[in-house]
């Protein structure tokens, strides 16, 4: 019988792996397009997501499960910066829903420790989402060209 908490954590690991890859591809594209500031932030987020994976993997192992890194669903690659931001927003929105569901699963299973581990991650992802939405809003307010001018190395 599968442990619902381990299963939920493995689901989160899958989402985080998508996030690591998506942000990293977007970072390298943004760098290649000449937007090192945005590239640096995307790269930083990618590494933050990787650190989350490590936390979830450690927890799965502590619970006697096996971290599953095979669940890598498709993710979307933006062909320009607004599309990159839209893809990241969609990913984070999904991740927050999944995290909240995982907290409920942990609570239902009486696993307070894992629930407490996941709870602060919700706020972290919400902060991330807020930053992304702000960037997307800036693109709309300033226009794409002006926003992107602010992301160059100058």
């Amino acid at each position: 019988m599968a442990d619902p908490v381990v299963d939920a954590l493995n689901g989160l690991i899958g989402t985080e792996m998508r996030a690591v890859n998506q942000y990293f591809v977007h970072a390298k594209c943004a760098e290649s397009w000449g937007y090192p500031k945005l590239a640096a932030r995307f790269r930083e987020i990618s590494i933050e997501e990787m650190n989350d994976i490590e936390v979830y993997m450690d927890r799965v192992l502590l619970l006697g499960g096996l971290p599953n890194l095979q669940r890598l669903d498709a993710f979307q690659i933006g062909e320009n910066v607004p599309e990159q931001l839209d893809a990241a927003i969609a990913l984070e929105e999904g991740a927050i829903v999944q995290l909240k569901e995982a907290v409920v699963i942990c609570e239902d299973a009486g696993d307070v420790g894992t629930a407490e581990l996941l709870r602060p991650k919700v706020a972290e992802e919400e902060t991330q989402l807020d930053w992304l939405r702000t960037q997307r809003s800036l693109v709309d307010q300033l226009g794409e060209a002006l926003y992107l001018a602010g992301q160059t190395g100058a």
Binding site: L72, D73, I77, E79
Partner: protein, 68 residues
């Protein structure tokens, strides 16, 4: 937005394929190559086809004249 990274194939190309008469994920693969190599994006391609077909409705299938 790039949907199929193997191609690569964008969402625009996939929607164009659907508009031009590809009404299943297999059809889309035949037309533009999306979802036929590693298969990871296949669920996404299927969802795009389903959504497009829902918008068109049964009467529109086969006409190849949907809006995206």
């Amino acid at each position: 937005m790039i949907v199929c990274q193997c191609g690569p194939v964008s969402d625009t190309t996939i929607r164009d394929a659907i508009r031009s008469g590809a009404h299943t994920a297999d059809d889309v693969g035949d037309v533009c190559g999306a979802g036929v190599q590693c298969g990871t994006c296949r669920p996404l391609v299927e969802r795009m086809v389903d959504e497009a077909m829902e918008q068109v409705g049964p009467a529109g299938r086969g006409s190849g004249s949907t809006h995206g």
